[in-house]
Point group: C2
Chain length 395, copies 2
DNA sequence: CCCGCCGAGAGGCACGTTTCTGCATGATCA
DNA sequence: TGATCATGCAGAAACGTGCCTCTCGGCGGG
């Protein structure tokens, strides 16, 4: 506003030339910009300047008209929109991001994606979850960027080459360096799977794995199981750990000796071998829960090798999102972790954090699991018309 | 803005100061930039200016040192790197993208992703392909952004909010508006699946679906099939169309009446119904090829319902990437489209185009398919010791 | 008649890089 | 002894927006 006074002074004095000099010098910047729009004819995109020139208005007006911001008459707004459309104008995402600080991009990290063998067993789960997360993000105007878990993967650091508004981390490891670095930079991070240790995530979403396993074991016991075995993994991620300890607690509670086999879950062949080992044991279980997706078919194949009928001789449940278990022979009961709901919840929480939406609820969200009961865990199959009221005395 | 008052005061005095006024006004730009680095203390990231100031060098030197560009002694380079590390400096991806015009981001579009039900049947294929593409991209320093097929999906256009160096399009529809818009902007586009019509893609990768189907039908015929049926889709995408016409050609060549059922491939339940219909026909086939992933289990279940033994009464092949067919009862022969190789090839082609790498070969790449022969398509299972040289007279 | 308000729009700085140009300084060479 | 040249670095112009500040004409009211 002092400048206003200055201009008034100018109006009072006849020192025109000096003012011109000043304006020219001060305006040199602007002038050189305005008088060199020849880059318009260059290859590719038309900029906002070109639109402004073509519409006969200023850059500000174009920006306001297209973003619905300023106070402009509808006629001008329409005119600018038409000109922009005619020139095929697309605002530069990079410039907008630089200016606003928001990129509309959300990172999606999956455990060691870059090195080919990532946790293949949870493949269907991840795919479903990613699909739901993508949909939810797109619905709110964000896009997902798939990023590796290791910061330094190739020659360049992909992480620092992309501007992220936030990040979704699937099953972060204890003291994940990427996560800590991100929160240090002030980037919101929401994890699928409750963070181990004191990982400082913004929020997290998870199932109640303990309750799910206990419930499932009760279901098997109610169906007549006397000795329930477990097919688990050797890795120490949260899912495996919580499920296994829940199993051990349950065994202790009901007074059953634990019967389980572990294998490296990322190896698809090792699962079949472990399933075979489990059924070859002298203390062979009469029911098995497999923690990973392929365990159902693996256990079914192993049962056939040993001449065990399912569900008559062996009850079967596995954790899977695949629909193939609906039409195996027999159909296999599965525990679904509801990846769609988890993916959606994770993204909603993250975008709320990005946009500063206040949350009434806590920043931890527990998604209920669903036990899809099929023939493999029922001693009396619904449609089979065999001997009627046989007692389910196992073995 | 005390500067404004200063200028006004000067304006009251005669000649000399006016020139100074001009200089001051012109230099204000530079002065305000250099003398206001206080935004360092602001929240969050340290900029390149802060690193330069802390290291006692210029911005240019910092940029050159970190990017390995200029001619600097190793000592300076190390020093700058240390200071940058100490300040936790991360270059702004947005600014870099704005300046260089390269974002390191590659779009990945899958048919109608935004609206939840996308082609669910090709789910495993897509997941595998995306996984391979992600790996290949990351290995070359690029990241994938998952984008919807429809340009206008939510309130904002996600496509124009992200700066892409190139795009991978999976099975683009004829005259895809997104693709044409992208190439108009000069963005390289590589498609998985040969483009229908005159879609102007930069390059494409695909299988030879026609050859694969013909080969597969020959395999079934060699195994003793007399009447081969087809389970196909009602959609008009390239894969379905090419496979179906290849089947019809084959039938014509060998003089067999076509026996097929079509169903909307995006509906997971419709597949089971169609499989049932196919086996319920009066001219029931003694061999079936299913175009989509779940057809194997669906056909197996239908065969059981009709008391048909596989492979004795019915030979089965389906196109799938799933490993569950290795351990079904019996294991089912599958046709693999090699999504990993396709995903890798697509990304390599795209990045080559982005970086201007000249190609010796053409910009179309055909990936061979693989027929994984299992029990379901062999009349003499390898390990079964049943009646030896029975003639495979079907039906 | 003057002051202030309001609608409509223009000017220009800042975001944080990359990079082109240019300026010293010593070393080499005719 | 100057001319040439490589070295080591600094200045500053873009890149294309968004937005804050300011101008200007018109108008109603004191």
């Amino acid at each position: 506003m002092p400048l206003g006074g200055c201009i008034c002074d100018r109006a009072n004095y006849p020192s025109e030339p000096y003012y011109r000099l000043a304006m020219t010098a001060a305006g040199k910047h602007q002038v050189s910009r305005t008088e060199t729009p020849r880059r318009n004819g260059r290859q590719g995109r038309a900029g906002i300047r070109d639109v402004a020139a073509a519409a006969g208005v200023s850059i500000t007006t174009v920006s306001d008209a297209l973003n619905g911001k300023g106070r402009l008459p509808e006629a001008t707004r329409r005119h600018v929109r038409e000109v922009a459309e005619r020139l095929g104008y697309r605002p530069s995402a990079a410039a907008r991001t630089l200016r606003t600080g928001k990129s509309g991009l959300i990172g999606l990290t999956v455990t060691t994606y870059g090195d080919e063998p990532f946790t293949f067993t949870e493949f269907a789960y991840f795919a479903e979850m990613a699909r739901a997360a993508t949909s939810a993000a797109l619905a709110r105007g964000y896009a997902l960027v798939i990023l590796p878990a290791t910061s330094r993967h190739s020659t360049v650091d992909v992480w620092s080459n992309v501007a992220l508004d936030g990040t979704v981390v699937i099953d972060p490891s204890d003291q994940d360096p990427v996560v800590t670095e991100l929160v240090r930079q002030g980037v919101p991070v929401v994890s699928d799977g409750r963070p181990a240790g004191s990982l400082p995530v913004t929020a997290w979403v998870d199932n109640d794995h303990r309750a799910a396993v206990l419930d499932l074991l009760d279901h098997l016991a109610a169906a007549g199981a006397r000795r329930i075995g477990l097919l688990t993994g050797t890795t120490t991620d949260t899912y495996t750990r919580l499920s296994t300890t829940a199993y051990l607690h349950w065994c202790e509670r009901v007074g059953q000796d634990p019967v389980y086999e572990s294998y490296p879950a990322h190896d698809p062949c090792a699962g079949a071998v472990a399933a075979d080992r489990l059924l070859a044991r002298p203390d062979r279980p009469d029911a098995v829960y497999g923690l990973f997706d392929p365990n159902g078919t693996d256990l079914l194949a192993a049962a056939r090798r040993y001449g065990l009928r399912v569900p008559e001789d062996l009850l079967l449940v596995c954790c899977s999102e695949s629909t193939v278990y609906a039409s195996t022979e027999p159909p296999i009961t599965t525990l679904s972790l509801k990846p769609r709901r988890i993916g959606t919840a994770v993204v909603q929480l993250l975008i709320d954090a990005i946009e500063g939406v206040e949350h009434d609820g806590p920043l931890e969200q527990v998604i209920p699991t669903e036990l899809i009961v099929r023939t493999s865990s029922q001693r009396r199959p619904p449609r089979t018309t065999v001997s009627a009221p046989r007692s389910p005395a196992g073995d």
